[in-house]
């Protein structure tokens, strides 16, 4: 290893990469971040919600100077059929501490800000360069090759996202990332004047909505829709499981179009201007999809490490990415102290993850992905709830039936046994 080798080269300037670089640079390590896009965030998209706790740990009070769009104070969950919707609405007045807050974010802005903070700590950043290959010597990773140049480092941290070709080259992914373990997310960014948006969603200054939709958006497949409010735009999109995509009755872009035209959604975005259309694969299989995270001279973080959780009522990836980046950085600092960058020398990465909320939560919810595979969750239950509501609120002069009978009738359509089974399974899975 040459004298001018970096302590760490980080591939990808997303949240995992920025976190790792920030913590390393702050501790005085010599670190380089390489990003293939023209700026940090230029290749990144999110549905829209960042749980703040893990970034709060690295940069306390970050939200007071970071470009967050809005602080989430309203939670909504809707069950949609093709033409109706039942909505649960929770408005939490803020008694939350800073680490408990969550924010609507847009990654183009947010990641650039994060990278600026990282550079201020002394990290070096190059953009517009694609890492083509990981360099190895006797099975140990010694650096990267980018644009024909070899760059050496004691450790390479892969933060290059869910389609990590580099991790695949190193044989670290389980057979490969399986379709059954992933979903595709599409999103439209729809601009609305700030005051109109606040009126429409009943928000005061800086307050935001996080709204999830089950049922119709994903065409009955695993998944759902989402709506997040930004400062003066709406992030509207959906996630659709890829496991049985061939059985979909329409294309993913058509699902998005139909979702936009749903009677619950259409008035919310009326008059808005679509300014961006984005998409990305989401790793969704939780702990069952985790690849090998450590090899001699290399660590996997964030989406590349499959760190994502979908519990139906919340989807988390960004807070896990940030925490994994921090853990990777700590492990590299330990390895540097002991001058041992082998897998054994980097093993504290695994310990840090195991002891953190990341692996604990992923283990706790390990049965959630299998539970979500149940098509009743995305087909029959939303319809059942909507049908009950329909009957309860329809008065047409014909003699009314007891509410109990109305409810039982629609439960019977799904099947009492199914309800019981899914209820028990659901409760134990989450």
């Amino acid at each position: 290893m040459s004298e001018d080798a970096f302590d760490a080269i980080i591939v990808g300037a997303g949240l995992a990469g920025c976190s790792a670089a920030y913590v390393l640079a702050k501790a005085g390590a010599n670190v380089l971040v390489i990003e293939r896009g023209n700026y940090a965030g230029s290749k990144n998209m999110t549905g829209g919600r960042l749980y703040g706790h893990s970034l709060e740990k690295i940069i306390p009070d970050f939200a007071s100077h970071a470009p967050v769009e809005r602080r989430v104070t309203k939670e909504k969950i809707s069950f949609l059929t093709d033409d109706s919707g039942v909505t649960l609405d929770y408005h939490g007045v803020s008694d939350k501490t800073a680490p408990q807050q969550s924010y609507n974010v847009l990654r183009g802005k947010f990641d650039q800000w994060f990278m600026e903070q990282t550079e201020e700590q002394g990290a070096q950043f190059i953009s517009g360069i694609r890492v083509d290959k990981i360099l190895t010597e006797n099975g140990k990773v010694i650096g990267v090759e980018a644009d024909g140049d070899a760059l050496e480092a004691n450790v390479v941290i892969l933060a290059d996202g869910v389609t990590s070709i580099l991790a695949e080259q190193l044989g670290m992914l389980k057979p490969r990332v399986e379709a059954g373990a992933t979903a595709v997310c599409v999103k439209e960014l729809i601009e609305l004047p700030k005051n109109q948006l606040e009126d429409r969603f009943n928000l005061t200054e800086n307050e935001g909505v996080a709204w999830l939709f089950a049922g119709m958006p994903s065409n009955g497949l695993m998944g759902g829709g989402f709506l997040y409010t930004n400062e003066s735009s709406i992030s509207l999109g959906l996630v659709c499981g890829l496991a049985h995509i061939e059985s979909a009755t329409k294309t993913v872009p058509q699902m998005m179009e139909d979702f936009k035209n749903h009677p619950v959604i259409k008035p919310l975005i009326a008059g808005g201007k679509m300014v961006e259309y984005s998409a990305h694969v989401v790793p969704e299989a939780g702990i069952n999809m985790m690849p090998q995270l450590i090899k001699d001279g290399v660590l996997l973080t964030g989406d590349a490490a499959g760190l994502c959780m979908n519990l139906g009522f919340n989807v988390r990836g960004m807070d896990l990415a940030i925490a994994s980046g921090e853990a990777a950085a700590q492990a590299v600092l330990t390895a540097k102290q002991n001058n041992d960058f082998s897998a054994a020398g980097l093993a504290s990465y695994q310990t840090l993850l195991d002891d953190s909320f990341i692996i604990k939560d992923m283990k706790l919810y390990k049965n959630a992905p299998a539970f979500m595979e149940n098509p009743r969750i995305f087909n029959q239950y939303p319809k059942m709830v909507a049908d009950i509501m329909h009957d309860m609120f329809t008065i047409d002069g014909s003699p009314s039936k007891p509410i109990r009978q109305t409810i039982m009738k629609h439960c019977k359509e799904v099947g009492y046994m199914n309800l019981l089974k899914d209820g028990i399974k659901g409760v134990t899975a989450i």
Partner: protein, 95 residues
Amino acid sequence: MTEVVNVDVKLGVDKFHVDEENPHIIIKPNPDMAEFKKLMIACPAGLYKLQEDGSIRFDYAGCLECGTCKILCGNTILEKWEFPRGTFGVEYRYG
């Protein structure tokens, strides 16, 4: 309520730097149509198309680099799937 989606209009608002010389995704010749159909459904950019004469068409220029086709068909009908070279491809201004 159903309106047929026009994905090209949506892609029209996005910013792309297309690498005209290097397609970053290439389909194998005569691909298995069952596999191809998955991509026709799943590709968010609608880039995998079946034409009226039964032939297939694919254009990498509007690729959102989401990875869906790699996940679904990387081992079957795709000859090549890589990220566009540095600076090229989609550029999210909002993300």
